[in-house]
């Protein structure tokens, strides 16, 4: 089984995140880069599928050279090898352009199963898995909190507003995961050492047969017109409960016409 897990480096949500004033893209130098949290769950799920059904786990990331830190993290968790899609021409790609570039890379690598986190903490669009399924013509098994394989068929539980849907398809398929699916492992010391020796192949846009006109800022399908820091919320009223806290809160709600 050829499992490809897509991971992304994102600015740490615990630090202040910014857009660049020049080209209005994410300022990747302003904050520490970390692996997107949901990608860790994706890596974990990929490793569990491999442990249960055999095969190989390839990490795929698109991002600047700095993103190798994130690749190493996934390799240290236990993935076998990695492909780094890296090219200056990709800078500023929006969701459509990113899905196009990733789909081209996935076609090059080949896959039975593609696994992603359902959303990244920076752009939070939640679009990539659905777009990849569309571009690859593969079944969309997204928002999974459980994945089961049996031969060539795969079943997931898809998180919904009312609970979940049980969804079935055959392989190859595109799966995205939510955070309750598993508990990602910590890389062991041995894993960290081994990761240093694992193969990381870099692909430029020409290698992946990506049309330069369809990616990057110039190829984007959408643009940021302008942006500004949100005005801070006005300071509120904070009271200490002296036995009447609930009543006072009710008074406040009444004054705001909520009751």
């Amino acid at each position: 089984m050829n499992i490809v897990v897509c991971v992304k480096q994102v600015p740490d949500t615990a630090t202040e995140r910014k857009l660049r004033s020049d080209d209005k893209t994410l300022d990747r130098d302003a904050a520490d880069g970390v692996i997107n949290e949901l990608c860790e769950y994706a890596v974990e799920e990929a490793l569990r599928v491999k442990e249960a059904h055999g095969g190989e786990v390839t990490v795929l990331t698109m991002g600047p050279s700095k993103a190798t830190e994130t690749i190493r993290k996934a390799l240290a968790m236990g993935a076998d090898k990695a492909v780094h899609l890296v090219d200056d021409a990709l800078h500023g790609s929006d969701a459509l352009a990113t899905s196009y570039a990733m789909a081209q890379a996935l076609k090059k690598i080949g896959f039975d199963l593609v696994i992603l986190g359902s959303e990244s903490t920076d752009a939070r669009t939640g679009l990539l898995a659905a777009m990849l399924a569309e571009r690859l013509g593969a079944p969309q098994l997204t928002l999974a909190n459980k994945v089961e394989l049996s031969g060539q068929s795969i079943t997931i539980q898809r998180l919904t507003d009312y609970g979940y849907d049980k969804v079935e398809s055959t392989l190859p398929a595109v799966v995205s995961v939510v955070e309750k699916i598993n508990e990602p492992r910590y890389p062991s010391f041995k894993g960290i050492m081994a990761a240093k020796k694992k193969q990381v192949q870099t692909l430029g846009i020409a290698d992946a047969e990506i049309d330069a006109a369809q990616v990057g800022l110039a190829g984007a399908w959408s643009e940021v017109v302008d942006f500004a820091a949100a005005p801070p919320r006005a300071a509120g009223t904070i009271v200490k409960d002296e036995g009447d806290g609930g009543s006072r809160a009710a008074e406040y709600l009444a004054s705001k016409k909520f009751i």
Binding site: A14, E16, Q140, L141, R158, Y162, S169, S222, F258
Partner: protein, 317 residues
């Protein structure tokens, strides 16, 4: 006036509030056409859509559309984008709505904007990013603008539209039939409004202490007609189901009123509720960061404050 397609969200044939909001928004930008996708269509549903401004109602109510994950709805919309050449397509910015938007964008070679909290002239969208820290104006530059709009971005206003019905048949491709829904499992917690749509949300966190104690939160929610939410600490502990998690890796809500009880206000929680109009916090730690956001905060024990608040509201009803 440009035709604006609005994908209808419905539960068992009942039109959801977010759709009425999108129709209201579409009316300010052109002529709204509601798109019904899946079974459950009725004269009542049509009347509701027309009441909120739908000039046209496209109806594709074959059961098959709801039998597979996302792709059939994207194919239906792509077909309508081809035949009607609309000015824009609006969907609700729910997890599924965004996935539909994503596939539609690929199919039609159009740009897509997600989580808009407003939409103005030239289809310039307002977005609030990085957990509410930065406000952005953005727009689609190629193809038909596809915009996923967050629930509670606009107040729905009734203004009659012509409501001309047009049946649509869509021949699903094989790839749209690739991921089949074989079972729907409902794990609903009472008859409460849906979290993303609710005007009022009452959320509980680690301070609530146990699954049983969430009954306190539910009771307060029920007196207010509110939805219940939970922090990740509470869903991780298994006290409340995951679909009710508010925050970075849960749902984003923008209600009129958000009440947080026993929640510290970590940045990842704030990312999901920062755009609430009014925020009330109940926490025993006066230093809890949630108080930085609160319009009204009570420093105290939630096991005393929440029941008293519930009782006071009951009395005032």
């Amino acid at each position: 006036m440009a035709e604006i397609l609005v994908l209808v969200e419905q539960v068992d044939g009942e039109v959801k509030k977010v759709t009425l909001e999108l129709l209201t928004l579409a009316r300010s930008l052109g002529s709204p056409s509601a798109v019904w996708a899946g079974p459950g269509y009725s004269a009542d549903a049509k009347a509701r859509l027309a009441e909120y401004g739908a000039d046209k109602v496209y109806v594709a109510d074959s059961a098959e559309i709801a039998d597979y994950v996302v792709a059939p709805k994207a194919e239906l919309l792509a077909q309508l984008v081809g035949s009607a050449a609309p000015g824009a397509v609006l969907v609700a910015a729910t997890a599924e709505g965004k996935e539909i938007a994503g596939r539609l964008a690929v199919k039609t070679g159009s740009g897509v904007i997600t989580d808009a909290v407003g939409l103005g002239e030239g289809f310039v969208a307002d977005q609030s990013i990085f957990g509410g820290g930065v406000n952005v104006h953005s727009r689609v530059t190629r193809g038909t603008p596809i915009v996923a709009v967050r629930p509670n971005s606009t107040a729905p206003v009734a203004t009659a539209g012509a409501g001309a019905e047009e049946q649509v048949t869509v021949a699903l491709s094989d790839s749209a039939r690739a991921a089949k829904i074989v079972e729907r499992v409902k794990q609903e917690k009472g008859a409460r409004p849906e979290l993303a749509e609710a005007a009022i949300v009452v959320s509980g966190g680690r301070g609530v202490g146990s699954a049983e104690n969430f009954a306190l939160i539910e009771k307060l929610a029920d007196t207010l007609g509110a939805a219940v939410g939970a922090s990740r600490a509470a869903t991780d502990a298994g006290w409340y189901p995951h679909q009710f998690q508010v925050g970075q890796t849960g749902k984003t809500v923008s209600p009129q009123l958000y009440i947080a009880a026993g929640i510290s206000g970590a940045i990842q929680h704030r990312a999901g509720m920062q755009t609430a109009k009014t925020i009330v916090a109940i926490n025993k730690d006066s230093e809890a960061p949630i108080f930085e956001l609160a319009d009204y905060g009570i420093v105290g024990d939630l096991f005393k404050v929440v029941p008293q608040l519930t009782e006071e509201i009951e009395k005032r009803k």
